[in-house]
């Protein structure tokens, strides 16, 4: 045995004949505990050829396979460097060099270093070079982003940085999609991306970055030059029984200077595709300093749109929607950016419901039966042009022009207490909106933003009913046979706002705003009683011709202070209003002045307990639909009027938020409490008749609203499932007048309690089961209440990364219905990825139990109502999704 080993050793040493072993022992006069570095260096260029360290016995052993002249260098901390020149020849196998090191103390000073990095972090921007993060299997941008540290992409494709969803996903600084970025991340090929930037504390206005309060994050993708101008996108087509279909297509191209994005969606499965567009039309970002006139729109008096309360609209909307959108961004020069957006949407919606309204109130009681067949047609054309001009590094000019033209043609065929009634509503909306804002960055984290906006909107409506139900209201015209109302709502808004932001050295933020907003509303309504298409009467109290002018000069300020774990935010808004009401007979003015203060406090008591609370006192000025004086028709049996007066409504609001534990803890709970006291508010004085209601707004003191909701999550290790409890309670208390009664109190209470259990298994199967009860009680002179229950069971089977099935079942139970009070629904969705990220097949089934109708029950302060909806029948859809 020993012999064999010896022979082997010999053999090895002969094969590697060029190898030489350098060995030796190092000693010193004092104890030598520190390891000695032994290096073999090229005698000429001093580069290290081999190195080792001494062992516990201060011996070293080193093998090299080169011949020639070398330096053997011995170094150790606290000892003088020793260099011994050696010559290695072919014949040598071992060289023994023993050295004696001499102590030498060493003194060292501070050093500073600067080096190159793969990730750059400049304040709030983190830049990732994508080549470092590519694994090789990623196809789409979404796959690539999954590799980026700190980013989380859930199964829906929602991108989060930490726990916060990103604001937008930009391409070379340009953005089409805002929060609809999934269209991009799920389709754009990963290989085109060179760099990924995470922008923290992101501001939509780049000059306000680091100045304005922003918690937003955004991503910017930089496309490699050679991959610019690549066309990509996806197509999804689905076809089912009964001619059900769905088609979606996205096509895009991002060039160096110009970027294009086309989108289309056609379907008849109840999907409202304009939801996808909302982000494109009116981008979010309400906290922006340039916010002005955002909620200004012309109000419409009437609508015949389907209402489904707490029920999934996809089940009741029988539609046929077509949508196409074309978007482009041009960068003609480095300083100028031009964005255009246009879309056209056409939709036809059918909706069926039967209502049984039982009215039981102040001296009247009757039952109305309504069978509705509703057909809504709409066509919308929208165009937007945005110009962004960076005249210098510290100034920015933005101009946005929007134009929208929407036409609606709604018709309903109604059986009202067995009388056939046809309602016809033709209306349109025309909008022109121009906004210009100028930002100037000043020194020391200060900035001013000057914004101006002009909006002009017209919303005329023409409404007719082929029956006359209002004999009791118009006894002189009992022989009329039909009615019509044409109305014109016009709104003009002009506003200018100067915003000053100052981020103090202490990081506290001071914001001051000075502005003036002017709004003019014109409400003209003509109500006619007709006989054989001839006007027989136009009752005076049912015609309106009113101009309402509001000029609001305001000064607002906001300051946030932080001290340790406590933050205090104080705000105030001073308004000087100039109100003017005009009609043919009279004109009146009012110039109220008020201040709206608010104070907020947030306190992190410790890691587990967090509290935030706020109090505000708010005065709001009445809107056009609060002030008009004569009646308008707002439905086939309802008339309404405003209060015919200027009004300012005062309210106090208090809220409290408490959080126990953190979202990732096994136990997590939070509670939210709101109390609102309306010191005065607009209630109603209503006359109720079987054939009509007539309601006018009246000013009442004292309305209260209280809401508290709590949720509690506990993760049970034993069954790897999370149990969730939800409890909420709300109460509102106000007064109104019905049928010339005295002021009567209406108290409504709402209780919700639910429990759900969801598994977190890492295997194929997962479940989610839950149930929720809702109790509503309304008390006036009489009391009404009901309890509904909704339960669900969802099952998920993930057989592989290629194949999964999701099953969703729901059960609805309506406690106050004696018959047909329980409804079951089952839907499923299966997907098979044929070629990863390229081609997938799917099948979905909706309403598998083929439930034909759905009845729900509700109560109000004047009675109760049972509504039956017709549902989309069972359908199966075969889907193909192809990415190119």
């Amino acid at each position: 045995m020993g012999k064999i080993a010896f022979t082997l050793l010999l053999l090895i040493s002969t094969i590697s004949s060029a190898q030489i072993k350098l060995v030796g022992t190092i000693s010193s006069k004092s104890t030598l505990e520190t390891p000695v570095t032994v290096k073999v260096k090229d005698s000429l260029n001093e580069s290290i050829i081999a190195y080792t360290f001494t062992d516990h016995n201060n011996k070293y052993k080193l093998t090299i396979d080169k011949i020639g002249k070398f330096n053997l260098v011995f170094t150790a901390l606290g000892f003088e460097k020793k260099i011994i020149p050696i010559t290695i020849t072919k014949e040598q196998t071992e060289l023994n060099t023993n050295v004696l090191l001499v102590e030498k103390s060493m003194r060292l000073d501070e050093v500073v270093i600067q080096a190159e990095k793969a990730i750059k972090v400049n304040n709030d921007t983190i830049v990732f070079k994508s080549k470092f993060f590519k694994v090789g299997t990623e196809e789409t941008v979404e796959d690539l982003l999954k590799n980026i540290p700190g980013l989380q992409i859930d199964n829906e494709g929602t991108i989060k940085v930490g726990n916060q969803e990103i604001e937008k996903l930009m391409i070379d600084g340009d953005d089409f999609f805002k929060k609809g970025y999934k269209v991009l991340s799920k389709n754009m090929p990963a290989y085109t991306i060179e760099e990924i930037e995470i922008l923290k504390n992101f501001s939509n206005n780049s000059l306000l970055k680091g100045i304005e309060e922003s918690k937003k994050v955004a991503l910017n993708l930089k496309v490699a030059d050679k991959y610019k101008r690549v066309w990509f996108g996806n197509l999804e087509a689905g076809l089912g029984n009964n001619n059900f279909y769905e088609f979606r297509g996205n096509l895009m191209n991002f060039g160096k200077k110009n970027k294009f994005y086309f989108l289309t969606n056609l379907n008849n499965i109840g999907y409202d595709s304009t939801g996808d567009l909302q982000q494109l039309i009116s981008p979010t970002g309400n906290s922006d300093a340039t916010k002005i006139g955002n909620n200004q729109e012309a109000k419409q008096l009437l609508n015949l749109s389907p209402s489904t309360a707490n029920f999934n609209q996809n089940r009741t909307n029988i539609n046929n929607a077509e949508l196409a959108s074309l978007n482009a961004i041009f960068n003609p020069t480095k300083k100028l950016k031009v964005k255009t957006l246009g879309f056209f949407n056409w939709d036809e919606l059918d909706f069926f419901k039967n209502n049984v309204n039982v009215i039981e109130t102040e001296g009247t009681s009757f039952t109305n039966i309504e069978n509705y067949k509703l057909k809504n047609q709409k066509s919308i054309a929208f165009a937007k042009l945005e110009l962004i001009y960076n005249s210098s590094k510290t100034s920015l000019l933005e101009a946005t022009t929007k134009y929208n033209n929407a036409r609606f043609n709604d018709g309903s065929n109604l059986q009202f207490n067995a009388t056939s009634t046809i309602q016809d509503l033709k209306h349109s909306k025309t909008l022109f909106d121009q906004k210009i804002s100028y930002t100037q960055q000043l020194k020391n984290k200060k900035a001013i933003v000057l914004t101006g906006r002009f909006i002009d909107e017209k919303a005329p409506q023409n409404y007719s009913i082929n029956r006359f139900f209002y004999q009791d209201l118009f006894p002189e015209n009992r022989d009329a046979s039909s009615v019509a109302q044409s109305s014109e709502n016009q709104m003009q808004f002009a506003g200018i706002n100067l915003n000053f932001l100052n981020r103090k050295k202490s990081n506290d933020l001071l914001v001051i705003q000075l502005g003036n907003e002017y709004r003019k509303d014109v409400l003209r309504s003509t109500f006619s009683l007709l006989k054989d298409n001839d006007v027989v009467a136009q009752p005076k109290a049912y015609q309106n011709d009113l101009t309402y002018l509001v000029n609001d000069l305001y000064f607002k300020g906001k300051y946030r202070l932080e001290y340790n774990d406590i933050g205090v935010t104080g705000k105030f808004a001073t308004h000087q209003l100039f109100n003017k009401l005009e009609n043919k007979q009279f004109s009146s003015t009012q110039n109220p002045f008020f201040i709206n203060p608010s104070i907020g406090l947030d306190w992190k008591i410790n890691d587990k307990n967090k509290v935030a609370t706020a109090y505000s006192y708010n005065t709001t000025n009445a809107k056009i639909l609060d002030v008009y004086s004569n009646f308008v028709l707002t439905g086939f049996r309802s008339f309404e009027s405003g209060s015919s007066n200027f009004n300012q409504l005062d309210a106090s609001r208090f809220n409290l938020n408490y959080q126990l534990g953190n979202w990732t803890d096994k136990f997590f709970a939070h509670s939210h409490l709101v109390y609102i006291k309306n010191h005065n508010f607009l209630s109603s004085n209503t006359l109720i008749n079987q054939n009509f209601t007539q309601s006018e707004k009246i000013l009442i003191k004292g309305r209260e609203y209280f809401n508290v909701n709590s949720s509690l999550d506990y993760y049970l290790n034993l069954i790897s499932s999370n149990i969730k409890l939800d409890i909420s309670y709300s109460k509102s208390d106000f007064k109104n007048v019905v049928n010339n009664s005295n002021l009567r109190e209406v108290v409504s209470k709402n209780y919700n309690y639910g429990i759900a259990l969801r598994s977190g298994y890492d295997g194929i199967f997962n479940y989610h089961i839950g149930t929720k009860w809702t109790t509503t009680a309304i008390r006036t002179t009489i009391a009404n209440s009901f309890t509904d229950n909704m339960s669900f069971l969802n099952l998920s089977f993930v057989f592989s990364t290629k194949f999964n099935i999701q099953l969703q079942s729901e059960r609805y139970y309506f406690g106050n219905l004696t018959t047909n009070n329980t409804y079951y629904f089952l839907d499923f969705n299966a997907r098979y990825k044929l070629i990863k990220n390229k081609l997938s097949l799917g099948i979905s089934g909706n309403n598998l139990f083929n439930t034909k109708t759905f009845r729900s029950y509700s109560v109000s302060d004047i009675g109760s109502s049972t509504t039956e909806y017709r549902l989309l029948p069972r359908f199966l859809l075969l889907k193909v999704n192809y990415r190119f």
């Binding site: 930490g162 992190k604 999550d713 989610h768």
Partner: protein, 255 residues
């Protein structure tokens, strides 16, 4: 007897003084994508101790209010406890004291030889020191390091060692997240009295790195399960994977 004691104490004094003359302190600036921190290496003869500063980061922008007036509260503090890595320059084992939120772990780690590749032509001046580039693949990440022969001690930050000179800069170049250490300060001789001895009870409580990693992985998996189980209604969870994001991504026993 008294005399003998005196002699011994004099002897001890001289001895400690002599040892401190070679005690080296190196401060490194550690950085990853989330935070940066100061870390300290102390070397005396062949023993090393590597520690990080306790870190308590305050996130100033943790409270936000949305349009409805609801408050959103995020994590305000990141806290990092002091971790100690005891090593010996003459072997490849480390004894690590790793405090976590609830419990302190005592972990024994024995690495294999670090397979450094020296690039003698790539040099860089860091401060006044001429450094040479070296590369390494260690536990799932690639690294670029710069060491200087002018400080002849085979030590470096964290678990990095065994180059023919002190490591002044090292950075990961692969994998999710980037970690880097760069030298900030070197003090020699470092005269403070530092206890480089491992606590007596360490070996009684110690577990292997493999056991420790098992515990931590299990903990992360159960945290993710909590989140999966809290997903809202009608959202489907397709797959859940745990990916390590720490400095070490793959261990020898997993290959």
């Amino acid at each position: 007897m008294k005399q003998i004691l005196q002699i011994i104490s004099i002897f001890l004094f001289v001895n400690t003084y002599a040892q401190n003359a070679n005690q080296l302190l190196v401060e490194y600036h550690f950085k990853n994508d989330y935070y940066n921190n100061d870390e300290t290496l102390v070397v005396k003869n062949n023993t090393t101790l590597y520690t990080n500063d306790e870190l308590n980061l305050t996130n100033e922008d943790n409270v936000a209010q949305d349009e409805d007036g609801n408050y959103l509260i995020g994590q305000k503090k990141i806290s990092l406890k002091k971790k100690s890595i005891y090593g010996n320059l003459k072997n490849n084992t480390y004894s690590i004291i790793m405090p976590s939120k609830k419990k302190t772990y005592f972990v024994k780690d024995s690495l294999g030889d670090l397979d450094w590749k020296i690039h003698p032509k790539d040099t860089l001046k860091i401060g006044d020191y001429l450094c040479t580039k070296a590369t390494l693949n260690f536990r799932g990440r690639d690294y670029i390091a710069y060491f200087t022969e002018e400080i002849p001690i085979p030590a470096g930050p964290w678990k990095f060692k065994a180059l023919p000179g002190l490591i002044l800069f090292i950075q990961s170049t692969s994998g999710t997240l980037t970690y880097s250490w760069q030298v900030k300060k070197i003090v020699l001789p470092f005269n403070a009295k530092i206890d480089l001895q491992l606590p007596n009870n360490f070996n009684d409580k110690a577990i292997s790195l493999k056991e420790y990693v098992g515990i931590i992985d299990e903990k992360h998996l159960s945290e993710v399960k909590v989140l999966d189980a809290r997903a809202p209604k009608d959202t489907a969870v397709e797959s859940t994977k745990i990916r390590r994001l720490g400095i070490e991504l793959v261990y020898e026993w997993e290959k």
